[in-house]
């Protein structure tokens, strides 16, 4: 069981990494792109700002001074 748990933890760390916010934002932005495409809107403009925004937000969280946490 501990091997399974270790393997799942490894997979999570490999695919999601240090900050799940990034993976979550990408998933939401991709869902929005697909939903807009389904109603005929070419939403190529959703993903680039979402990705950069997620990166900026994640970095801001990682570098927040400890006394503000």
């Amino acid at each position: 069981m501990s091997y399974v748990r270790s393997f799942l933890a490894f997979l999570y760390d490999f695919a999601v990494g240090d900050d799940p916010l990034i993976a979550l934002t990408v998933a939401v932005a991709l869902s929005a792109t697909a939903a807009l495409a389904a109603v005929g809107i070419n939403a190529w403009w959703v993903l680039p700002p979402a990705a950069i925004g997620a990166l900026a937000r994640s970095l801001a969280r990682a570098t927040k001074p400890t006394d503000e946490k």
Partner: protein
């Protein structure tokens, strides 16, 4: 710069940066323990990686191109953003830069402390060398499979990875010491920018969007990612200067 050149560069740089880390451990174990067992460990790990690439590669090529681009593009984008995040934290001073000399010294100390083994295969050297090559190589295997699969240029991605591996191993063998002069963080930064840009392109296409200018938009995405990340480095450097004076300068690894 063509699509294929960018793909070659992304895979080559990713493989080079991971190979530098693996070579440091392999050198330390080989020099301190036993080269024969170390090479057995390296070969076993390379064989496992080749199998993973072959199995995943053939599984991915069986998927429809839009599903492939959505799944692989999304994963590449998340993966690229994580690399970029780490590289930006290092470039701005919030995280320590990788130190191959220190890593080499730590591995030497650990290998000496592990104690001698009898004749035959040295279990310590085999395990440490194979684990290091396998763990560092998994990220490269993932990049080779995803970049090569999405672009339908699996062979080119493999050639890029093999070339990088040969260059780094040859440099390590000639120097017989860790490759501390390789600008690891700069390489990681460049790979992060490229993975993020390719990932954005393919994931959006897989989700049903069409890019204006089609493939020609990729250099623009690379420029956007690079400029945005440089702006983030600049902003964080300013913040880091402020946190140094208040005593909280780095974030955990």
């Amino acid at each position: 710069m063509s699509h294929e050149t960018l793909l070659f560069l992304a895979v080559f740089l990713a493989c080079a940066v991971e190979a530098v880390e693996a070579v440091t451990v392999v050198l330390a174990v080989g020099v301190t323990r036993d080269w024969r067992s170390t090479w057995f460990g390296v070969c076993a790990a390379l064989l496992a990686l080749a199998l993973i690439v072959a199995i995943l590669g053939s599984a991915l090529t069986a998927l429809p191109i839009s599903t492939l681009r959505l799944v692989v593009g999304g994963l590449l984008l998340v993966f690229g953003l994580q690399w970029l995040r780490k590289a930006i934290l290092r470039a701005s001073g919030f995280k320590a830069l990788p130190d191959e000399e220190a890593a080499f010294a730590n591995e030497i100390a650990a290998a000496r402390a592990a104690g001698a083994e009898g004749r035959g295969i040295d279990g310590y050297a085999f395990t440490v060398a194979s684990k290091s090559v396998l763990l560092e190589g998994l990220e490269v295997a993932f990049i080779v499979v995803t970049l090569g699969g999405s672009q339908k240029s699996f062979g080119l991605a493999l050639i890029a990875a093999t070339t990088a591996l040969l260059v780094v191993v040859a440099a390590g063998a000639l120097a017989n010491r860790p490759l501390s002069r390789v600008p690891e963080n700069t390489l990681k930064y460049a790979v992060g920018v490229m993975l993020t840009s390719f990932g954005t392109f393919w994931a959006a296409e897989g989700a049903g969007a069409s890019w204006p200018g089609e493939d020609a938009v990729i250099p623009a995405l690379i420029a956007l990612t690079l400029l945005s990340s440089l702006a983030l480095v600049r902003a964080l450097r300013r913040r880091h200067t402020g946190t140094l004076s208040s005593g909280t300068g780095t974030v955990p690894a």
